[in-house]
Symmetry: C2
């Protein structure tokens, strides 16, 4: 199987925007579960990069490139899980009311994250370790910035 060829399809397919689930009426509890799943996987693939930027994990250029690319896909997945229907989900979750009361600010936080991931993807191909570590720090800052305002303190 030619993985390069297949993944090139992602670029084409997703050029138009974010993905759609086609189901308008997903249960609030499922929306929460799905968005938490996306955050869990963002953590899976960002965690090692943060470790590298902090000098706690040995630097590995291939891992930076791969994980950055997967983060690019994952960064598109959580947001429709914050649909208004999810506001009163009966399952435990850490979303603060500001997610729904300050939609423009929440959107801005998402945009900041996307831009930071984009910057990381861009430098992840070049092999410049210092630039990559700086970009990883930039992504971490946007994660934290969004969590600061829109997620309950853990």
């Amino acid at each position: 199987m030619n993985k390069k060829l297949l993944l090139a399809g992602l670029a084409l397919a997703l050029g138009a925007g974010v993905a759609q689930t086609a189901f308008a009426q997903v249960k609030p509890e499922i929306l929460v579960k799905q968005r938490q799943a996306a955050m869990t996987l963002q953590g899976k693939y960002f965690g090692p990069l943060a470790g590298m930027a902090q000098g706690k994990v040995p630097y590995n250029a291939e891992t930076v490139a791969m994980n950055a690319a997967l983060l690019d896909a994952l960064s598109r997945m959580p947001w429709d899980g914050f649909a208004p229907a999810s506001k009163d989900a009966s399952v435990k979750n850490a979303a603060l009311p500001a997610v729904w009361s300050e939609p423009a600010k929440f959107q801005q936080a998402q945009d900041n994250f996307h831009k930071a991931v984009a910057a990381l993807v861009a430098v992840s191909r070049g092999g410049d370790e210092a630039a990559q570590k700086a970009a990883i720090g930039g992504v971490g800052k946007t994660c934290g910035g969004c969590h600061q305002d829109f997620r309950e303190k853990q």
Copy 2:
């Protein structure tokens, strides 16, 4: 932000193989949580396609292309979560012992899934509704085939 440009990076970055988490010693419970998160999101993006193939959801070519592309990325994410360390995880999960006692068969089931997703990605760009629905059915078969042998009955 140019989404096409960014996602083209995924093709380049992932050409070499599956992603690495760089941490060799992730806790078994975290491995389970991460692999379940990947399955949850596969369900999120495959569900609507299955609905289309079954005529329960209106066909939408753009959704097929987008979700197929995201499934291509997601299809890479669960497998390292079945690392031997996860075998005795103390959290509820549905993995059957065959995951670890029949590794070659489990690998084959993964390969079947990848091939089916690849076939779906390939036709998802062409706009041939019948071919897309057939390919969606092919993916569903490989999901079910793996669950049949390697996941407890739900």
